[in-house]
Symmetry: C2
Subunit: 151 residues, 2 copies
């Protein structure tokens, strides 16, 4: 098994968060948390994941400030896991991933879960990457630079 | 080492692409491909990844239609890896991930790489999730449904 590399000191904005969310199970836990799941047993049943692995993934998400634990709302001794503001900030990442997936991994007749507007049930239009003055940008219209912070 | 679970039959749009891109190295290879890297040796030097692991990740991305191989442009015997249209479709996912990362994983004075508008060097404004009629949507304004395809 290859040594796990930490990306926490990376200056690249793609690399640094990978210790927190760079494995598939963590993304699925975050998806479930957005869908309203809160308890260990709920995640475990929905994901079919071994308890020790689920436990480690949940703890890692808490450590990275994406989930936090709260006492169960019904007064039972369980703790529940809820998204922090940082975790909720992943909403555009999940929407972008779902849209890409739906376009490229599903045939037109295949059943799939998708996010829709809760108000009118309409699908979300494709995300567009816009410049500050409203031009639509593709990959070739952007360039990576090193930003030295606001100091 | 836990048995690797395949998500390729999942009906969830978050889960199904995870066989293709659900590990950190694959995302970093895709990032490098967007930045213009094309050769095995270029990826290897930039990522510092063992050759056998890099080779397996590249092959997996080719298998899933995210990268394709082309003959080297300079007539040398090397092959090069370029993003397919499917791969280029990941641009909004990477932009969303970079924006979240920059907001939550970097202090204000830390140096970081960021994508800017190639035309004027301005940073990209935060992605907004909009409804078909232009309302801004947060997580609570959407709901997952099962869509049975267009059959």
């Amino acid at each position: 098994m290859p040594k796990r590399t930490s990306h926490e000191d990376a200056s690249c904005t793609v690399a640094r968060p990978l210790d927190a969310i760079g494995d598939g199970w963590s993304l699925l836990i975050i998806r479930d948390a957005f869908d309203g799941l809160r308890r260990f047993g709920e995640f475990q049943r929905n994901l079919g994941l071994a308890k020790n692995i689920l436990s480690a993934r949940l703890q890692n998400l808490v450590t990275h400030g994406i989930l936090r634990t709260v006492p169960a709302g019904d007064g039972s001794p369980y703790q529940e896991y809820v998204l922090t503001e940082k975790g909720r900030g992943l909403f555009p990442v999940l929407v972008a991933l779902r849209q890409w997936s739906e376009e490229h991994f599903f045939g037109p007749e295949e059943s799939r879960t998708r996010l829709v507007d809760a108000q009118d049930g309409q699908p979300l239009p494709p995300l567009r990457i816009l410049s500050h003055d409203g031009r639509e940008l593709g990959p070739e219209d952007t360039t990576p630079i090193t930003h030295n912070g606001d100091s």
